[in-house]
């Protein structure tokens, strides 16, 4: 017989849950969500035209991929995200590391970068369309603007967090300034920079959808806007599910990559 104070309550303050309980809980909440959705749609509580049942949405998702060439839209969207994100990283990482290392460089760029962060990227859409027309360029530019300034600031902050003693150790070992930045400051900040990239990639997906909804004939967002015109709510919901799945996939992939690249960091997730 367990004594009363050993009995475990469901609500234990900050006691970790077991893995089976965690899995059960996670599945449970989704089961409830799809359950309510399914019942609401099938029983006619809601207009089935506006809220098609989940099974229909999944069937449509399959059909979109299998026979209506949705894969090419998805591929276009992924390419846009990755290309623009790579461009943003190519600018933000070197610049952020420089700004975080050299106060003189920070003094030049921080007043500039800091101001740009407060300009919402979508406000540039009209002018980007005028400058770049309707091709790939305005979409890539929007994603780039949306990501690069935040990424610069995050990289700078993470670089500043590299402890002074590490830098001074390198200098007293006879490392030049260049070697110190490349072989001590950068690798020391890299795990955190990688985490910042992971967060910013999620933001890139947000801007992608905005770009494709506003000004595109291809990509997941454009497919959803086409579907809206023909009242195909199941296709719109399919688009949302695919975007969510892609976001989740990239986030998990980044998490895996982080653990693989930085095994000395004992971090969960």
């Amino acid at each position: 017989m367990p004594t009363p104070h050993q009995a475990r309550h469901f609500l234990e303050i900050r006691k970790p849950v077991s893995r089976p309980q965690a899995i059960l809980s996670a599945f449970g909440i989704w089961a409830v969500f799809f359950g309510i959705w399914s019942v609401a749609a099938h029983s006619g509580w809601v207009n089935a035209l506006l809220v098609p049942p989940p099974d229909q949405v999944f069937a449509t998702t399959w059909d979109l991929f299998a026979s209506r060439g949705f894969a090419s839209d998805v591929l276009i969207s992924i390419t846009r995200v990755l290309v623009s994100f790579a461009m943003a990283c190519a600018v933000a990482i070197p610049l952020g590391v420089m700004m975080g290392t050299f106060p003189s460089v920070e003094a030049i760029f921080n007043p500039f970068v800091g101001a740009w962060r407060y300009l919402p990227a979508p406000s540039f859409i009209p002018i980007l369309l005028m400058w770049f027309g309707t091709g790939e360029a305005p979409k890539l530019a929007l994603l780039f603007i949306g990501v690069v300034f935040f990424l610069i600031t995050l990289v700078m902050d993470h670089t500043k967090n590299v402890r002074k003693e590490l830098i001074e150790t390198a200098l007293t070992l006879g490392a030049s300034r260049q070697v110190t930045v490349m072989q001590v400051v950068f690798p020391a900040a890299l795990p955190d920079i990688f985490t910042a990239m992971r967060q910013m990639l999620a933001m890139a997906w947000t801007y992608l959808v905005i770009a494709e909804i506003v000004a595109s004939t291809t990509g997941i967002g454009a497919m959803m806007m086409r579907a809206r015109r023909f009242l195909k709510t199941d296709e719109i919901l399919s688009g949302i599910i695919v975007i969510g799945a892609l976001g989740l996939f990239f986030d998990l992939a980044f998490g895996r990559l982080h653990r693989w690249l930085f095994p000395y960091r004992k971090e969960t997730r």
Partner: protein, 264 residues
């Protein structure tokens, strides 16, 4: 007779503080460090001992006076003056062996020689079994041993240590102090060690530079005569030697005088 390797000539340091004011951290400090000797900078907090060490390392420039190594003025950090900090400075992304090789690598020491020297110094600090481990897998004391091996493997003329064992528990600190005596004997290393621990100072020092606080001034140069120029590598043994207790009391009195002066 050993000759002076390092010479501080009337070294002062003034730090600007907010509001256009400034504070004098170090005030005309002069002393020598002879080759193959262990010199300990001791004093109450605020005596500028860490600042003096940082000026020797070249991480701070003196406001006045000069630091010279072999008669040449120190300008900036360089490999001839290796530094071990109180905070852990392991490069977490490198294995123990590659941490120890780091200085040699950036200074262009050939691969084979690098390997050999690293192995020697890793062995010297007793970490051979952990050569391929990452620092995050090691205890605090082991990490400080990595830092010591990394600095020594780089072949500095002077090993500078800023309260290197301050973050360690008592037993580990004791082992580390004995290790330093071992290293000094085997490698003929010249050391300047900053501490506020009187026991540590007496155990390690061939010469103690005692500093007073606010501003940091040289108060007394103390040579632990009771050791008769020998190094005792056993802490239990040293405290029983005649003369140890007297010296400890003398230094405690100096510390207390400084403390009461502070309060006035």
């Amino acid at each position: 007779m050993s000759e002076a390797l390092l010479h501080l000539d009337a070294v002062s340091k003034v730090f600007p503080i907010s509001g256009g004011e400034s504070v004098q951290a170090v005030d005309h400090v002069t002393f020598d460090v002879e080759e193959n000797r262990i010199c300990v900078l001791l004093g109450p907090s605020g005596c500028g001992k860490s600042t003096i060490l940082r000026m020797i390392a070249g991480l701070e420039a003196p406001s006045d006076g000069a630091v010279t190594l072999h008669g040449k003025p120190v300008i900036g950090p360089a490999r001839d003056r290796g530094m071990v900090f109180q905070a852990y400075t392991s490069f977490d992304w490198l294995s123990v062996r590659r941490n120890v090789e780091f200085g040699m690598k950036v200074n262009g020491v050939p691969h084979a020689e690098r390997r050999e020297r690293a192995a020697h110094f890793i062995d010297l600090v007793g970490l051979t079994k952990f050569a391929e481990a990452y620092p995050s897998q090691l205890s605090g004391g082991m990490r400080q041993r990595v830092a010591i091996a990394r600095t020594l493997a780089n072949g500095p003329e002077l090993l500078l240590m800023d309260e290197p064992f301050g973050a360690l528990d008592a037993e580990t600190r004791w082992h580390m102090q004995e290790l330093m005596i071992d290293i000094a004997r085997q490698e003929n290393t010249t050391m300047v060690i900053v501490t506020h621990d009187i026991e540590e100072a007496i155990f390690l020092a061939d010469k103690i530079i005692f500093l007073s606080s606010h501003p940091g001034r040289l108060k007394e140069v103390i040579v632990p005569e009771f050791k008769h120029g020998a190094r005792i590598d056993d802490k239990e043994h040293i405290v029983q030697l005649p003369g140890y207790a007297e010296l400890e009391q003398k230094i405690m009195r100096l510390m207390r005088e400084e403390g009461s002066r502070e309060e006035q």
